[in-house]
């Protein structure tokens, strides 16, 4: 068992601890989850120092001075660690901390057992034949599910007897569509990180602030991520691009071609930065909701109205800048040139003004409705999946939402595209054009 075995143990422990802490924080209480996390962290640091100690004592440079210094450091660190561990046990929930302490040990034991088992003849006989391996997996899964179900049912029953907090019913991450809490407005969506925080600390003002402004926070986070990707890709631009730069360049080039193809080579390049950014930003926001514990900012009407208002104001600005004030009013009046069309101005002017005002409404409602509906669809099917397996008393469900996740990918991309294309066409309608007047816009796309 070399050092690389220890590195693997550390990695596995990190994953297991993260999951266990999350699970405990969700289904038992946040402080218990924190205790598990701290306990495992303590144990990992302990393991790390032990490793250093052993290396310093038995390594090839054990007689040198640096090894002795490292030895002293490791011993001192372990002493400090034990003091910290005592303080930890006194401060946080001892059960959680103890569970956390044992996680790395359990991982080591299981990994060692696997190392012993894997080369053995029995394992080879089982693993070589596919039906036997599948049968073993299914049996293992069944045992785990039923055993854990029995355990959880037992724990919940005893917990309800002693009138403590019911574990499963307090689950914040289980979607409770339909019957929202009194404080919440409208139908419930998936719990995201900030909702979980605000439920874990219902009294704290900062948690309430985060929950209240979660849409703003998430959209800023998305904007930051998009900026980060753009910065990283263009920081050291090379003539022969690396894969990352290449991918981003391909996206930018495709957007550039697409928008210039609609707006024409004269006006196109000027509006590519705005419209392309709009597409990337909306796409990122739409897809952000598919990440667990995140939320699509675009499933909130305020965000989409903001985006649509930006497009609306920009389109009017373009109209006034490119056509002049007189030309803009002339455009709104339907470009009257003949006597008949002058006579129709009192009719055409209100229609065009109404049409302009309807554009942001339809843009924002379309984006919001699609993304929100997609979220609601997922919530409905997750709820259905959980209800199907609710007899197990386990926080698991059938993954009935899986096909709809692919649908969500499709609608996310399509709606980002539609928003961008419609914005482009609103810009196009505002730009001076030879054969003006037709409202369709799509036939201008040459």
């Amino acid at each position: 068992m070399g050092l690389e075995f220890l590195a693997r143990v550390r990695r596995t422990t990190g994953w297991v601890t993260g999951l266990a802490a999350l699970w405990t924080a969700t289904y038992a209480s946040p402080s218990l989850g924190l205790a598990v996390l701290l306990g495992a962290a303590w144990s990992l640091v302990n393991l790390f120092l032990l490793e250093k100690l052993v290396v310093a004592l038995t390594g090839p440079w054990r007689s040198e001075r640096s090894a002795r210094r490292r030895l002293t450091l490791a011993v001192a660190g372990m002493l400090a660690l034990f003091v910290a561990g005592a303080g930890l046990l006194a401060r946080v929930a001892p059960t959680g901390a103890l569970v956390g302490f044992t996680i790395p040990m359990g991982v080591i034991v299981l990994k060692a057992a696997a190392l012993l088992l894997l080369p053995s003849k029995l394992w080879k006989r089982v693993a070589d034949a596919t039906p036997r391996a599948v049968g073993l997996w299914v049996a293992l899964l069944l045992v785990v599910v039923v055993g854990a179900g029995a355990l959880v049912a037992h724990v919940t029953a005893s917990g309800e007897d002693s009138a403590s907090t019911p574990a499963v019913t307090a689950a914040p991450s289980a979607p409770t569509a339909g019957h929202g809490e009194p404080g919440e407005e409208g139908p419930q969506k998936f719990a995201n990180l900030l909702t979980v925080l605000s439920r874990a600390f219902p009294e704290a003002p900062w948690a309430r602030f985060l929950h209240h402004y979660e849409v703003v926070i998430f959209s800023l986070l998305v904007a930051f991520l998009v900026c980060l990707v753009a910065y990283l890709a263009s920081r050291r631009a090379e003539l022969i691009p690396k894969p990352f730069q290449n991918a981003v360049e391909a996206v930018v080039e495709a957007l550039n071609d697409f928008i210039v193809g609609i707006l024409g080579p004269r006006y196109g390049p000027r509006y590519v930065p705005f419209l392309g950014t709009l597409f990337i930003y909306i796409l990122a926001m739409n897809l952000f909701g598919l990440i667990p514990f995140m939320d699509s900012p675009t499933s909130n009407l305020n965000v989409t109205v903001g985006l649509a208002l930006v497009v609306f104001v920009y389109a009017q600005t373009i109209g006034i800048r490119e056509l002049g004030v007189v030309g803009y009013i002339d455009h709104l009046a339907g470009n009257p040139r003949t006597a008949i069309s002058w006579g129709l101005v009192p009719l055409m002017l209100p229609i065009h003004v109404m049409g302009e005002l309807a554009k942001p409404i339809s843009l924002s409602c379309r984006l919001f409705g699609n993304i929100f509906g997609e979220d609601m669809l997922l919530v409905a099917f997750v709820t259905l999946g959980i209800t199907t397996l609710s007899f197990l008393h386990l926080p698991i469900g059938l993954p009935l939402q899986l096909p709809f996740l692919f649908l969500a990918l499709l609608t996310s991309t399509l709606q980002a595209l539609v928003f961008t294309v419609l914005s482009t066409i609103y810009f196009l309608l505002m730009l001076p054009h030879e054969e003006h007047g037709s409202e369709g816009g799509a036939q201008h796309a040459h």
Binding site: F368, G373, A445
Partner: protein
């Protein structure tokens, strides 16, 4: 029939009607675009772009009904 019962009946039926209308519209758009592509395969890109835009416009009507349903849903119970 009181207000709540009327809303409880009307919302699902309304969104269904809107979906029927949109469905007919989308079918027409799709069939027209497919025929156009079949006649002129080299114009596929432009036709698809126009099709997506018009499909989005047609689909938006159902989305309006959907949003309205969610706005009024809380008033049923």
């Amino acid at each position: 029939m009181d207000f709540h019962a009327a809303l409880g009946w009307g919302l699902p039926v309304g969104i269904g009607l809107a979906a029927i209308g949109s469905g007919i519209g989308l079918g027409g758009i799709g069939s027209g675009a497919m025929q156009a592509i079949g006649r002129q395969p080299e114009a596929t890109g432009k036709i698809q772009l126009a099709m997506i835009i018009i499909a989005a416009l047609a689909e938006a009507l159902t989305i309006y009904a959907f949003v309205t349903m969610f706005l009024l849903q809380g008033k049923i119970g």
